[in-house]
Amino acid sequence: MRSHCLDNSFQPSPRGCNAAMLSFLSLLFFNLLITFTAAGQDYYERLLLRPLPQSALLASFNFRSNESSASFDQQNFRYFPRSLGQILQHARTKELHLRFSLGRWDAESWGQRPWDGAREGGTGVELWAWLEAQSEEEAFSRWLTLTNALSGLFCASLNFIDATKTIRPVMSFQPEGDHHNSSNLHLLHGTLPHEVVCTENLTPFLKLLPCKGKAGVSSLLDGHKLFDASWQTMSIDVRPVCGKDGADCVLEMEQSVDMVLDIDRSRRPRDNPIPRPLPIEEIACDTSKHYNAEDTCYPLHKSAEPGWNLTEIFGRPLKGACPLTDGDGEGANTVCINTPPERIIQANTTGQYLETWIASDTVRCYKLPTGSDFDLNLPEQEMTTGLILATPPLFAARSINGHGQERGSIQAIIRNPSATDAVEFVYLESLPWFMKPYLHTLRARVDTTSTNPIQETYYRPAVDRARGTHLELRMLIPASSTLTLTYDFEKAILRYTEYPPDANRGFDVAPAVLKLLSSQSSLGDNKGVYLRTTSLLLPLPTPDFSMPYNVIILTSTVMALGFGNIFNLLVRRFVGAEEVMALGAGGLRGVVAARVAAMRTRLLGR
């Protein structure tokens, strides 16, 4: 169902005030930096730290290793992990994107997502890949091969991505790599919203790194802290990158871990993680209150930036540089902090390190010493200036309306904060088959205009037990307005063998994916700008699991009653009651009567 879309012109948005410009430029410049150095050398890693409001800290790790496609084809792996490489070759996978995510990004207070959302996934596990295949069926069989192999590699239940959880997006995803020399690629996409990401997924992830988490920034990655984060996502992206003329292609594998740590929570020692109430003398009381007394304390909201250092935040020190990163140039600055220039940062290490100020002093990068621990210490400090975070292009929230286990309606509220420019985006829903949407109830309303924001719709309805719903909408949301998308759905009742053990918890519905078409990625490459809502919990009506036998017996009884009653009438013949008496000499009673008669005659006869 494709209605032709009107194309809207797009102007890049001038960002807010001067400070904002400054901070934003810093961020922009920084990211460009990464992409420049991309194709440069074979292994590259970097950690970007950025303090966020409400004493949160964004730490985004990024590792990239290249392999020339020639040596890749000869199975001659240097930095590229062999285990993954062989899987890709076996499944004819040309480009792979794998995500493990937990928690949610709080866009209201943390601003724009790292990597513009291009390196994060929905809650749980998300996987999409471009496979080379002659036909759809072949592509799907290779897809199954890939998911099974990856589930073994990452200790995740990726093998549960079956036909009902797989879709073939048409508008939402574009290949990041250049695929000049490969034909008929198929894009397949699958999600596992219920999958709980945990340390057993981190370990194989680190194993793929050349330094295996023993040195370099990856030595900071500790399961306990990582999964105590308020938001974290691990991503693996494999794509071919070619030169201008399509020659000297390299296969680039990018691994990144982004997490938002709560500084107060992470600084707690591991042996005493319980947030006991602080002793009263450690709490800053508001003495201006009239009722302030030694037993009454109105807590003051701390305005100072909290002090922290790498060791207590990540639970372990940074064990020097990974020797595989090249010694000088941009690639050597592997740890960067994005703070206002006035923030005091002391780097303490025994080895020698190099500090460089870039991006108009809002980013400080450090070249790590080799072989000796490195730590950064930021003391508590009252700040006069702050970095203004880039506002995200869209805010999206999705929820289920209505109650009861029979039907409901999905409501997605998408807000465009920009005062000047409209945003065009693709909204992708991938729903399980037992959640049956009614497309004729789909309504999209914009509070500022009455025009229909939907420009193009792609819909593939679900088939029971065979395929899930796949809905893609291309929509245009005007400046500074809110778009409300609603549609009704019905819940199917499943066979009792199809329910999970915790049937009364409900089923998870995968997050909706929003891809921004109009706004160019600030990274300046073709990664795109993405946004994901939270996943939903869908309670289904449950049968009584304890009584299949009773049900079978009772239903059969009712049917037998009807059948027996009717056919009893049909096959038998009526006679008068007393006639029955008359011709009674049949069956047991007749026999008995005969016996009695015989007895009597014998008695009388004697």
Binding site: H440, T497, P548, I552, L554, V558, M559, G576
Partner: protein, 422 residues
């Protein structure tokens, strides 16, 4: 003529009631459409709307798990204005459908085939209700009204079943075959009504023309025409949708029961709880069970074909995979044709109060299961059992009465005596 005045009055009143309900409570239709007792996955109006929407947007409605209804409904309902904005046309359509059904029912009543078929004269034939009363019983049956408000396509099926019966009882062979083929095209199971109605049609034709037509030729002709009609309808649908995949999505679903949405029937919970390995076996058994009634009744009650057809509708209302109260109301409004059997029926009060109980407690239990969450599925399941039991009791009881009536004619000396079955 007074009879026509009465009829006009009746139809006017019925139409007024329906349109009033439609307009006075605009939210009522959608509320009732959502009730599982009224609209099943294969008849629901909401699913029909979805199908029409997809059809008008060039997506095949049958390439999905939502729409399971006959293809020819799509162009029909896509002609009507969107009921979400202009519901009047649809409401009017369904009101007219009910009136036509009532009209057909009254024709059946007037034909007198119920009490005095060709080969059999009931001993109580003077005991009958006027066609007006029977029509009123149909039009003002609360079940009928709720069905009409909820707008399931089973209303159309009922109409065509009634038409087929009416035409058969008037001996109009071709129209009867046409109506029946439409009914079975819409809902598949009405095709089981063909044998008794064919016999009925034959009897009527025989009475009309003094010389009875040759049975074989008669049967062959009508079977052939039924095949032709059905084939034509199916072929038309194939042309319309461009492929034959609608067969699996409509009749396949009725046969194999992939959608286990609750309804008032016996199948859904049985196959929810059934073990996977036995599912196909029991599907076969259940369908065989439904079909088995047709030959038995038709042969045993050869003399009263109309009664056989009516009893079969009652059996459909209980034992088909996706029954709704619409099927029940069809049967319950056909039973008054056999007014002369009522004195012989034994459990009328029992059965009818059972049905009343079920229709009050059913929604309450469904609420407890689905919304309050304080009851579980067994609550509603138990009520569907009771409902089916009540209906099957009426069916069996009326059958007993009919046979007893035959006996009274065969052996007048037994009239009114205690009888036994051997």
């Amino acid at each position: 003529m007074p009879i026509d005045q009465q009829k006009a009055l009746l139809f006017g009143a019925a139409a007024a009631v329906r349109l009033l309900l439609f307009t006075a409570f605009p939210s009522l239709p959608n509320l009732l459409t959502g009730r599982v007792e009224i609209s099943t996955p294969v008849t629901s109006f909401k699913r029909l709307q979805e199908g029409v929407f997809l059809y008008t947007h060039n997506v095949s409605p049958y390439d999905g798990g939502v729409f399971h209804q006959a293809p020819l409904l799509l162009p029909l309902f896509s002609l009507l204005p969107n009921p979400a904005y202009y519901p009047f046309a649809t409401n009017l359509l369904y009101t007219i459908v009910d009136l036509l059904g009532a009209n057909a029912l009254m024709h059946i009543a007037e034909s007198g085939q119920s009490a005095t078929p060709r080969l059999f004269k009931s001993s109580r034939k003077e005991l009958r209700w006027s066609s007006i009363a029977i029509g009123a019983g149909f039009l003002f049956n609360p079940f009928t009204i709720t069905t009409c408000i909820a707008r399931p396509t089973s209303a159309l099926t009922n109409l065509f079943i009634l038409l087929a019966m009416a035409k058969a009882s008037q001996g109009a062979g071709s129209t009867f075959v046409l109506a029946l083929s439409v009914a079975s095209y819409l809902a598949m199971h009405p095709i089981l009504l063909f044998p008794p109605l064919l016999v009925l049609c034959y009897d009527v034709r025989a009475t009309k023309s003094k010389s009875a037509p040759n049975p074989l030729a008669f049967t062959a002709f009508h079977v052939l025409s039924l095949v032709v009609a059905l084939g034509g309808l199916l072929y038309l649908s194939a042309l319309l949708t461009g492929s034959w995949e609608f067969l699996g999505a409509t009749y396949g679903v009725r046969l194999l029961l992939p959608d286990l949405t609750p309804n008032v029937g016996l199948w859904w919970y049985f196959f929810t709880e059934m073990f996977d390995s036995f599912r196909e076996f029991f599907l076969g058994v259940f369908w065989l069970h439904v079909v088995s009634y047709v030959p038995g009744l038709t042969i045993r009650l050869r003399k009263q074909p109309l009664f056989v057809a009516v009893t079969l509708t009652g059996i459909f209302a209980v034992f088909t995979p996706y029954p709704s109260i619409a099927d029940g109301t069809l049967y319950l409004s056909l039973v008054p044709l056999f007014r002369h059997l009522f004195p012989l029926m034994r459990y009328t009060f029992l059965a009818s109060s059972t049905i009343l109980y079920a229709s009050f407690i059913g929604p309450a239990f469904y609420y407890l299961w689905i919304y309050a969450g304080s009851g579980n599925a067994n609550f509603f399941y138990a009520i569907t059992l009771v409902w089916s039991l009540g209906l099957s009791v009426i069916v069996g009881d009326s059958l007993y009465a009919a046979l007893r009536d035959e006996l009274d004619v065969e052996r007048p000396e037994l009239r009114g005596k205690e009888v036994k079955r051997i």
